[in-house]
Symmetry: C5
Subunit: 328 residues, 5 copies
């Protein structure tokens, strides 16, 4: 059974069958109809009972931005649940979202989704368990509780992103590798996706927090303001993490430049020391002969030790120079 209904007052909770929606709608008290993990046919049936526009039903089945839209008999709120899942792309994980539609009428609430979600389930159960505050307040409060739960999921998503950034920061210090840059792109992409959902959700919550819709009561506005504050904070977090990712990227790119610089220094030091020495030994490998001016050194008693000492001196001077220049 994927369509169900409850009618509740402070006095208690009645459960209705998905086939009895008209009776549930007309009963005294707050009516909540939940179409959960529902087929298009079930969604259309619920929509026709409560006068919900077919375009709104379509929105729930598509990847539309979160929004609050007002109709004459109800307010339509479209939100998205969020989780990081292993995706189909080369990225390690990516943001998966699912649409949930909330329709807030005078004394009724309809929630619709084509999947099952924890956020709706947990509030549904708390009503059946007889949560006093929710029973006392109307459909706008129940809707608030669902939205509040959904917004909390984004904190979980951003916590996971933070862990990933910390891993990357460790990887960056260990040394430059292409994997780090791929992971950084991954995180940046996730943050962009989260931000793209959070931003319109914030706007949707702002409309509710201002109490513009007819069926949001003044006493519930404060609760939507609280949701709004959390969404502002979430947007702030995505920016902070984006900056951390940018910082890690800077250090990564710099460590590559620094590595190249050091490799070149090593090469230059080695070449600057050994090329002169090789030249010197090359001199005494020449085959000049036939006269007093032609390489008399070769016959000197201490010729060989003298050359060896000369080369050691050249080496020592060059090493000292490079030490001073901090190339060694």
């Amino acid at each position: 059974m994927t369509v169900g209904a409850v009618v509740y007052t402070e006095a208690g909770v009645d459960t209705y069958d998905g086939a009895d929606l008209e009776r549930a709608r007309d009963a005294d008290g707050t009516t909540w109809v939940r179409a959960w993990d529902a087929t298009p046919g079930e969604l259309d049936r619920v929509a026709s009972v409560f006068g919900i526009h077919h375009l709104s039903v379509e929105d729930i089945q598509r990847d539309i931005r979160p929004k609050t839209e007002e109709f004459s008999s109800h307010t339509f709120v479209l939100v998205k649940t969020a989780s990081l899942r292993t995706g189909e792309t080369t990225f390690r994980e990516e943001l998966r979202t699912q649409q949930i539609g909330l329709f807030i009428g005078r004394d009724w609430l309809v929630t619709m989704s084509t999947v099952g979600t924890d956020a709706v389930e947990s509030v549904w159960r708390s009503i059946q368990r007889g949560d006093v505050r929710t029973l006392r307040l109307g459909p706008d409060f129940a809707a608030y509780r669902v939205i509040d739960r959904i917004v909390d999921e984004y904190f979980v998503v951003l916590d996971e992103t933070e862990d990933l950034i910390e891993e990357i920061e460790d990887g960056v210090l260990a040394g430059p590798s292409e994997e780090v840059l791929v992971a950084l792109n991954d995180v940046r992409r996730d943050l962009l996706s989260v931000r793209k959902v959070l931003w319109p959700t914030r706007e949707a919550a702002a409309i509710l927090a201002r109490g513009d819709p007819d069926y949001v009561q003044p006493s519930t506005e404060k609760y939507y303001r609280d949701v709004y504050d959390h969404l502002v904070q979430l947007v702030d977090l995505t920016e902070t993490y984006r900056d951390l990712a940018r910082g890690a990227r800077d250090i990564y790119l710099n460590s590559l430049s620094q590595s190249t610089n050091e490799v070149m220094k090593t090469l230059t030091v080695v070449a600057t020391i050994l090329l002169p020495l090789t030249f010197i030994v090359g001199i005494y490998g020449m085959n000049f002969s036939g006269g007093p001016y032609n390489m008399p050194e070769l016959g000197w008693r201490f010729g060989y030790p003298a050359v060896m000492f000369g080369m050691a001196s050249v080496t020592a001077i060059l090493v000292a120079y490079f030490r001073q220049q901090r190339w060694l």
Copy 2:
């Protein structure tokens, strides 16, 4: 014949000749005049029958931004169809757009374009096939259906762009080559062009969705709101793809730096091992002679094996060092 007219009511559809526009305009029911693949003369003729300003007719023949403009007797909507075509520049493909003008009056609709387009054609045919909903609702709904079709074309364009980005991402991993950067510029340019059209189209749809124009009925507003949502989503997509392109570019540029770094490491390792060895063999190629201090090693029984062993040791130490430094 590139100018035609239909007059439709829920009862049925009458077709009029392009020469009979005044009769079609004055007939009962919704009149739709279509100037399709039309010459400037035909456009002017239609305009004079429906009191359309000559500046609007000019707009349809120029590369003006999409817009919604209100006149006293009608609302003028200028939109652009989109497709990626092989262009005249060095880029592989580029965005081609074509203007379509829609003039929505109280009980008439005029669509004008200097080319033939699928979007107008398909709605035109569905009316002639007797599509119930379109026949029942007025000219603002028929206009919505044309615009909706045109907006859907942008999803096709962005799908093609996504494929191109995926190709580029594969190319980037295969190794740095200038082609990749050219392709990335290509994509960036396409996304910019798409965005430049989508943004004002979104504004034009917003005006219709707010129901400001007199001839957009309250019951049609919801449909334009739906178009607006799709345009918002399209703008979001262009941003997401732009970020993917930027990510691919980062990986590309980095792989070039990394390649240079590795090339330098190879050179440095080779030089650091072989320059000392060449120096050593150079020493024993010197021609010192004439005394016990001059290169006595050359005469030692195991001189040659000792030098060879010494050089092998130097090599082994350097290789071990570079292994440890992860240069090998």
Copy 3:
């Protein structure tokens, strides 16, 4: 003569001398006074006849942003003509602009500039030729025609900029050279200058298109809206060209990095092949002697061919390796 006046109605056109401004002002019909290539004294004289504030006259003589300003008896529009001229800086060409002031009163128009300009001249002549539409409509329409001509000049300027970008794109593919970057800076600077003029011109046109000023009649608003659309399109073009310039710059910088990468690969390949070979021939250049363990290879019958063959093998292996690595 740099100050002249015409008074026109649908019936015809009368020409007045610059000394007769008061009579021209008071004559029936639309009065247009043109101060063209005028001295400060002439400007002041015209201003005093029509009650124009001396600060407005000063604005025309200074490099002030385009603007629309309303006074009690007239609307003041300051626009700028544009052309690319060889400048005094090191840049090849730079944007030159000249102020034109238009003062639109109830039944009069004053245009002022300290230079002569084609835009004013051509509209002036078309009135003297008896252009029907202009004669019939009032001073706000004549002002529109001047502004429209001036805006068209920016399309010419941007066309020239586009040609320059195309030249640069060709230059970039030919190979990295500092000239290309200088030319890119040049273009970027021109685009920035154009944009700085276009942006406030757009705002000035928007005020006229909204019909806010008292002396812009409802029937003329559409024409100013058309000018506004062209200005929006021009701003779009500057952004498109700026992006093309940025793309060319990316390819340029990348081709430099790629060139450095390839130079390093060449060096590394050469060194990696020849340093080992030089080492090997160095070994057999050593002078060890005096025992069976000291370089017996030197005496082998096929010692020399064996070494040569060994070196050829080393070379072949290294070349094959570098081929596989795509370094060759």
Copy 4:
């Protein structure tokens, strides 16, 4: 005792116990209740006495952005104290903030925080010392004084950041090292955090400065405007420092590129001088013999000096060339 109360008039100050909040609330004069370093239970107790919403109390215990929120009986201002502390991350120091809630009623002020803070303490004491101006003016002025103190703390934080930037600028000139980049990231992160708090604090102050809330009297608005000015100045400072950090980063990255450039020049100079010399001595190390055309130089009387002189000449020419090219 972490909850206390004072009731003050121009005549004097009475102190009340935390258990006596109702009496303090109802007494004549301005009542200030301070919950300081308080437990959740204490906060709830104070809230229930003054009709403060439980969501506001929750806000004080969470990391919510600064804000001004109006309730029917009071205005709620949430601000954050700031200090740089050694953090748990790898960064040297990071911004630590703590929430302080101020509730401004008609004749009462409640301040709440879960920690003890200097800003509240110092104003609290000045009242007990009988500060005339504060005693005369109402709860909105006392709230101003607390907020003013808190805003001053940000000047201290930014002063410390400036010192850090100066240290970094010195480090950059000393030579490229990875530490500098880490420190720069550190500063950038701090500035971002400060800015994230300052921006909404500025908005919260703007609401008070405009005098919108009922319990901010016209005579106090000027004081909040002063706070607002300081917040604008603080935001300006964060931008200036961010730019200084960016400038230091540019110089740092450039000095690395310049270092690589110089290393390469050294290598090229050394190789360009010594490779030809080594080649020359290699020539005269060849063992050709057996005819007049085979290396007659080896037997010339001044062969060796001539070669040595030739090599010295080559060296001198190359050194002169590199000097001229500024590579030496």
Copy 5:
């Protein structure tokens, strides 16, 4: 004497002593009190005579952003004079600003600053010289004249900045050096500082130009609009100069990359020519002997000339190749 007063009408100018402020205030005509290079005590004294809030007096003594603030009896305008001075930082020059407060009442003007400034002095003198227009118009016109003078100082500052940019552009073409980057940072910093002052000054002038304040008369609005135009133009100039600085920086960084590229090409050319030659001479330095297959070339009649010719050929081919590749 640092506090003085004048009372002026079209008829003439009376000068009052700083001790006579009350009499000057109450005299017929426009009263201008100037506290110039004044001590805090003097400022407080003037403030108490004219009912100026002590927070405004504090603002003049602090580094607060320019602003226009309205009080019931007067309008307070805070502006800043600007000059480039040798600063305490490592930068060559930096922007120095000084606060000037203008208080515009119904028939009085108070100007306050803790320093002496040319702008105030020159207007003060022109009144004493009996400048007709200033004497005829009220305190809002005198305030305009002071502000106009102050705004003109920014043109001088930006002219100096332009000269500095031109110097840098010359330096960039001369070759890469760290000094250039430091100078560029210097300019960027100056431009940022100027912009930070100009932006709020523009807003302050906009308020006066709109004529919102009670004591700005309609006839003076035009003058403030003129000041506003100049401020807009100044902001435009800072952006143009910032772009020039960015262009110079691009060319600088590129010339460094290009230099590195050329250094590497030189090295590669040298190594690619000389390593093979050195290898070849190494071959004929080997000591193989003992059979017909061992280095028979050494005994050939033209062995040596043949090798020399072979090496010359290799060199010629490589040089031709590098010429073709444009590496030489």
